[in-house]
């Protein structure tokens, strides 16, 4: 390895001698990006975990979540169903190692886990008492090579702290999922994927809830793509909400206003 790196280093020195400092930094950054891209491309076949939701995979650049990265899940309001979706995705990564849930608020209720498909016997719950300990626990879990997914509920996060978590994730193979409130949307983060979950009113007599999931940012992919998901009340199965009902459905009688596609489905 070292002999092959030597000419590269020599060339670097010559570059530095002839060009201004800022250009050297720019050139180095560009090379680093290319280098990282090569590594990511080579390790595709082992490093990506499918979310288990084909529609969500389709809007993510890697067709899943990359191991050793962070994914930010932002809920627009309390009760949005963001944690349910995140846990549904975490079950896929749980096959690769235990799920570590860091619950700093002490509100997480494990009785709801079996219905989301999470194996309780493969789950470690960490209940730190302070914000500092919470970050410590997430960072340690992310650095552990045996962990499949780390799920943390974090409100406020400074940029440096976020960066620490990202570096911790990169040093290992765990997927870090950070569940965050709506105000986190305004903050820049170090997550490779940022998803925004907005609850949608469900039609009457529907045995499921509807959530719009928008990809705010995805490293190396197109952002601002969204999908409508429906989560079954009984089984918590997540699937793409049908965009249109069957063409043979009964349309509402005249005088009833159709406000959205979902109204048609409700009637049908």
């Amino acid at each position: 390895m070292i002999p092959s790196e030597l000419p590269y280093a020599t060339r670097e020195i010559s570059l530095r001698e002839t060009t201004p400092g800022w250009q050297v930094i720019k050139e180095l950054r560009s090379r680093l990006r290319r280098f990282k891209h090569c590594i990511r491309a080579r390790s595709d076949y082992v490093a990506v975990v499918s979310t288990g939701i084909p529609a969500l995979d389709a809007i993510l650049p890697d067709h899943g979540l990359r191991r050793g990265t962070l994914c930010e899940w932002i809920g627009t309001e309390p009760g949005s169903g963001v944690a349910t979706l995140a846990l549904s995705v975490a079950t896929q990564a749980q096959k690769k190692g235990p799920l570590v849930i860091v619950d700093g608020k002490g509100k997480f209720y494990p009785a709801a886990l079996p219905s989301t498909g999470v194996e309780l016997t493969e789950t470690i719950l960490v209940r730190p008492k302070s914000k500092y300990d919470e970050l410590f626990a997430i960072e340690q879990a992310l650095r552990c090579s045996g962990v499949g997914t780390v799920l943390g509920f974090i409100d406020r996060l400074r940029s440096q702290q976020f960066r620490r978590l990202q570096l911790a994730a990169e040093s290992s193979t765990a997927i870090g999922m950070l569940i965050r409130p709506s105000f986190a949307r305004k903050q820049n983060g170090w997550a490779d994927v940022r998803l925004l979950a907005s609850p949608q009113p469900s039609p009457p007599e529907a045995f499921c809830r509807f959530v719009e999931l928008r990809c705010l940012y995805a490293k190396g992919g197109m952002a601002n793509r969204s999908i409508d998901l429906e989560v079954s009340d009984e089984t918590n199965d997540v699937r793409l909400a049908a965009e249109l009902s069957d063409s043979t459905c009964v349309l509402p009688t005249s005088g009833t206003e159709i406000s959205s596609v979902r109204d048609i489905r409700a009637v049908g």
Partner: protein, 453 residues
Amino acid sequence: MRQGIQPGTPLAEAQSLLDSAEFILHDEQADLLELEKLARACHLYSPHVGLEHSCRSHCLVLDITGCASLFKGEFSLAQQILIELMNRGFFAHIAAANTIGAAWGIARHGHEAGANRTLRSLPVEALRIPDQLVMQLREFDLFTIGQLTQLPKDELPSRFGSILTERLDQMLGMHEELIVPVLDPKPVSAEWSTDEPICHRKAIRSICTDLISEILDNLHPQGEGLQRLTATLQSEASDPVVLEIGLTRPVDSLPHVMDLVDLKIETEPIPEWLVGIRLEASATAPLHLRQGTLFTHTPDQELIRNDDSIERLIDRLTARLGAEAVVRPRLLPEALPEKAVRFESFSNSASEKKTTIVDSPGHGPTRPLELFPEPQPIEVISITPDGSPVRFYWKNRTCEVTHCTEPERIQTGWWQDNGCCRRDYYRVETRTGSRFWLFRNGNTSWFLHGVFE
């Protein structure tokens, strides 16, 4: 045996008979230590386990008074002990009798008694007497215990010594014999003290490194690893501080233990001006008994995890956050939501068997992922007094309920700790699509108990 080698055969003769065999010098002390380890392992079957030292070949003695019923009878108990010893690589003869002497005699010489299975038919060797005395008895044509019992008892000591009658009485239960129990060895510890107090953390760490290294060195020959470390810090200015560090499995790695000590020192208040540090291995376990993994694997799961990375993570988190903060959730068959989950630390998984646990994944009643530790009182408007909610106020905002499930009645008996409790739970969806878990307590007050995050 097949080659004609018997106990007592000279070494040179044995070597000539079987030159391919490896001959190892007999170490009586090592044998005794190994037997003591077995005795401690047998505490699983009896609280009183001792060694029988009276003869050249030692044996284990277990007082199984009242224990047999726990193992479905004496025969089943003996079988389980036999299997345990076989798993450890030993073959054993086991006998259960009313006295130590009888059990010893039957275990060693019971097969020589033939069809007549009585103590009287046992050979005189079964009396735990020296070989020389056995030879002496044989010169008088006394071969069985039955023959001895027919002789006048008063004359035996003058002819053969008091040991013969004493052993005979012990076998027949006419003379009391006590079991000297094998006790657990004293915990391995290391201590440091000084006249010049220290307060710098680096100095404390350096001393702890030396002490832990000494403890691990002492545990290593026994094949044991550290499972719990107790540190007592003595100060001039204040009372001693005791720190506990638990590990999920026995370890013999100094860097790992020091890593945990560092985390503990960082978080716990360390008194100033330390004049003494005492570290004690308060729990140890054989290194070969370390568990494979903390989690069960199904064949379809990919096992890419490192051997002990999860255990190390749990050790680190426990050292920093405390055992109660790193837990495994267990579901209990309790109606009240706040009692339906038990948080079990990884160090006391033994208590798992005491209560019924419902961990199998299933689709029971829908529960929210976020449950408030205490239900929050809220103001709710419903059309009828005992009807479902139409609107509620929470965190200074009005939530219009568009969908609501039928009430789920959760009621406990008056004999429960907190008395009778009757709640009607509703899963409600607001106009924006958010979902909450409300309940009405009796017919009066409303509470928000959870959020379907």
